[in-house]
């Protein structure tokens, strides 16, 4: 009985090779962003503000929105994996909702990351800034891994949920080292939005 559910010979090796390729792709994205941020001459410009008082407020609130959407996506993912039981019956649209919320979270991060890379670059002024720069690059790397884990067949079973969890934890770190810092340390007189 046990033999009947064991992986066929070579399957584990193939899955491991695919996982390595997926991780390499994610690593390449993270490193490419870091190299660009380091090599690029920061412009220190504020290209867009929408209805916020300046670009920094836009970035802070967009990052906060991304974090909220990511948290919602984690909850939807937990329901998909039956780790939580609310709602009791899984709606047929839950998987699509999970995809939509994750896509929106990613989309909201784009103008934030663009301004970070283009106007500020990869900086190491102090520990907070260095950690933020590293996590920002790592975020898109692990996000790439997660997207590929959805698309590539035959990866080890835990790849997708683990990648999703790491994406969320990384985004929390990015938010803590930027938006939370802004909310708690902004100079007197600087508007919150």
């Amino acid at each position: 009985m046990t033999d009947s559910v064991a992986a066929p010979a070579g399957t584990e090796g193939t899955a491991a090779r695919r996982l390595v390729l997926v991780l390499l792709a994610g690593g390449a994205v993270a490193v490419a962003l870091g190299v660009y941020g380091r090599a690029h001459d920061p412009t220190h410009e504020q290209p867009y503000t929408l209805f916020f008082s300046s670009t920094i407020q836009l970035k802070v609130w967009f990052a906060t929105a991304a974090l909220a959407l990511a948290a919602l996506q984690v909850l939807l993912g937990l329901r998909l994996y039956d780790k939580i039981t609310v709602p009791r019956r899984t709606p047929s649209w839950l998987g699509d909702a999970h995809r939509l919320v994750g896509t929106l979270a990613f989309a909201v991060t784009l103008p934030v990351a663009y301004q970070c890379l283009w106007a500020l670059g990869f900086q190491s002024t102090d520990t907070r800034v260095l950690v933020h720069s590293l996590l920002g690059c790592f975020f898109y790397g692990i996000f790439t891994v997660k997207v590929l884990a959805v698309r590539v067949r035959g990866l080890p079973g835990p790849t997708l949920p683990v990648a999703g969890g790491v994406v969320f934890v990384t985004l929390v770190g990015v938010w803590l080292t930027s938006a939370l810092w802004f909310f708690t340390s902004r100079p007197p007189g600087l508007p919150a939005y």
Partner: protein, 113 residues
């Protein structure tokens, strides 16, 4: 119907990501100007201060420095040097990153903005 909407949103997000990457390279300032800051103080300011105080000291996360704002805040150059070296509140201390001569250069530069 909902799935089609999600597919469309995914495609739009992917297009947005591609556009962002293209813009990063299309707007590369080094490819058009290729210039270096006019003085050591300006270079130090661009590398260490502009991200918070703005490219021209107009302010951002950090307060405005230009148009006499920093001179008004610190009538004494030495007081400003001490502030930059030791930091205060959300202002990082630069004493560990810049030499005393560099701090003086960047301080004197900010007072010309």
């Amino acid at each position: 119907m909902f799935r089609k909407l999600v597919n469309v949103v995914e495609v739009l997000a992917a297009v947005g990501a591609v556009v962002a990457v293209v813009l990063l390279f299309a707007n590369e300032p080094g490819s058009t100007t290729g210039s270096t800051p006019a003085s050591p103080g300006a270079a130090l300011f661009a590398a260490n201060c502009a991200s918070c105080h703005g490219a021209d000291g107009e302010g951002g996360v950090g307060p405005q420095l230009a148009d006499g704002a920093v001179v008004k805040q610190f009538p004494s150059v030495d007081d400003q040097i001490t502030f930059v070296r030791d930091g205060s509140g959300s202002m990082p201390a630069f004493g560990g990153q810049l030499s005393p001569a560099q701090i003086r250069q960047v301080v004197e530069y900010t007072r010309t903005l």
